[in-house]
Symmetry: C2
Subunit: 246 residues, 2 copies
DNA sequence: AATAAAACATGACAAATGTAATGTTTCCAA
DNA sequence: TTGGAAACATTACATTTGTCATGTTTTATT
């Protein structure tokens, strides 16, 4: 969910820092791999930050100083073209790493913007501490290699879909993906737990908002989906899958 | 060049295996990083193979057993959709690594096809030897992380371009890229040293062959390029750059 | 509850790109 | 050198998607 557990209007200081293990950290494979001792050390070097609507974690072009991990909530990676059009490359979920990549080397700058979708909590760590940790832990380095490899395959698959498929197929593929990655079973379908407007979807599949709206209207008519934004439900995953690959 | 140095019709056994260092190996960053000793060991575990027109290095869906490095020539990475359309994701050049990624883990299969563009020479090494090498050499592991990170950024940039730009802009961007990555200065422009048909270009930017032909015809009329396939020349890099980002 | 802002929706029209059919040129191998 | 394949080319037309304009509904905020 993009909403964190209810709490009084002003947020209390971030949880953690008690003597017991902070909630949520066991969803982070990279940390699980480390020995208890190394993990403690790494956690000591990491800072937790919360972000809300309208904020940025970093922006395209900013210098890259930190390595990041999503702890709670969802984060979107966005790139924009000179004429203001935007495209969302990836929705990061808890456990996802970002800036674990080349943009973190030799004083480069961020190739895209990272912004929270709803309230999120992010762990971060200085680049040099991160590299030091990787050099000292072959297992962690291998995990990062595997993770980056997966991201690369994913990105290439995305490029393929953008290059070869029609707008409705791309949108169907997106919905299938969301259902599988963040879906919650409900009596009448699978609810997507990330708040996603038609505009968001449009940015994710490279079409205009109007086109996304029209296609979603068709999907709704055909009883493949229902609801909007905060309450989007996938009603016929199979048919969507079929459509995505037709 | 995609043509290797002239030789008699039947190819003689691959060069190397003399006592002196094989030609071309100093173009491979990953090997340069290793100590002379480790490099020798790694080279001992690698096999050199040559491929020619019409062959495949591996195909989409094949099990991944080897890690690869391009030594000479160019290799293209291709994915295809169910209905036979193809898209070329990346042209690998000497020094480029492939299957250094997630597809190499836990008995996965290749997410795409690798095929030679003209004659190429490829080094390869069993996956487990590769992983062992990475674990033993933090510098090599860091180099692979940096390399994968670059590939990831590149792939995301490609997705962005596919999502937001028009066909002519994408084609212009491709030509600029080729000129910069494999261009050879000539009196009247920059010759692209990889043989590239209109069909190849179409596959790289996600359009039909006819569209690629039409756009290239326009570019030719406007004196931005000249020639075809084996003799493609970029005549006005600046204007192409401008077009790509307009 | 009132109000403003964001999201959703729809229609008319324009532009970009694909499809199909067909012909010419270039390249390569017998 | 020559015949056949691949590459290049062009036309007419169909389809997809974008653009613009406008209006309604939903959501969030005071």
């Amino acid at each position: 969910m993009s909403k964190l557990p209810k709490k009084s209007p002003k947020q209390p200081p971030a949880e953690q820092s008690g003597s017991d293990v902070p909630v949520g950290l066991n969803q982070i494979p990279l940390l699980q791999i480390l020995s208890a001792q190394d993990r403690q050390k790494v956690l000591g070097e990491m800072t937790e930050t919360r972000y809300g609507k309208g904020q940025y974690i970093f922006r395209e072009g900013d210098p890259t100083e930190y390595f990041h991990i999503v702890k709670e909530g969802s984060v979107k990676c966005v790139k924009s073209s000179l004429d203001g059009k935007e495209c969302t490359l990836k929705v990061l979920m808890p456990g996802d790493l970002f800036c674990c990549d080349a943009s973190a080397f030799d004083g480069a700058s961020h190739p895209g913007t990272a912004q929270p979708m709803g309230d999120v909590s992010v762990l971060r760590m200085k680049n040099d501490a991160y590299f030091k940790m990787l050099r000292a832990n072959p297992d962690a380095a291998m995990e990062v290699i595997r993770y980056l490899g997966n991201r690369l395959n994913e990105a290439q698959e995305k490029a393929k879909v953008l290059a070869l498929d029609r707008a409705d197929q791309r949108l169907a593929a997106l919905l299938v993906n969301l259902a599988e990655r963040s879906g919650i079973k409900e009596p009448n379908g699978i609810r997507v737990s990330v708040r996603l407007t038609r505009q968001d979807m449009a940015n994710m599949v490279g079409v205009t908002t109007e086109t996304a709206i029209r296609i979603m209207a068709r999907f709704k008519k055909d009883r493949l989906v229902s609801g909007t934004a905060a309450r989007l439900v996938i009603r016929d995953l199979l048919k969507l899958k079929l459509l995505a690959s037709t």
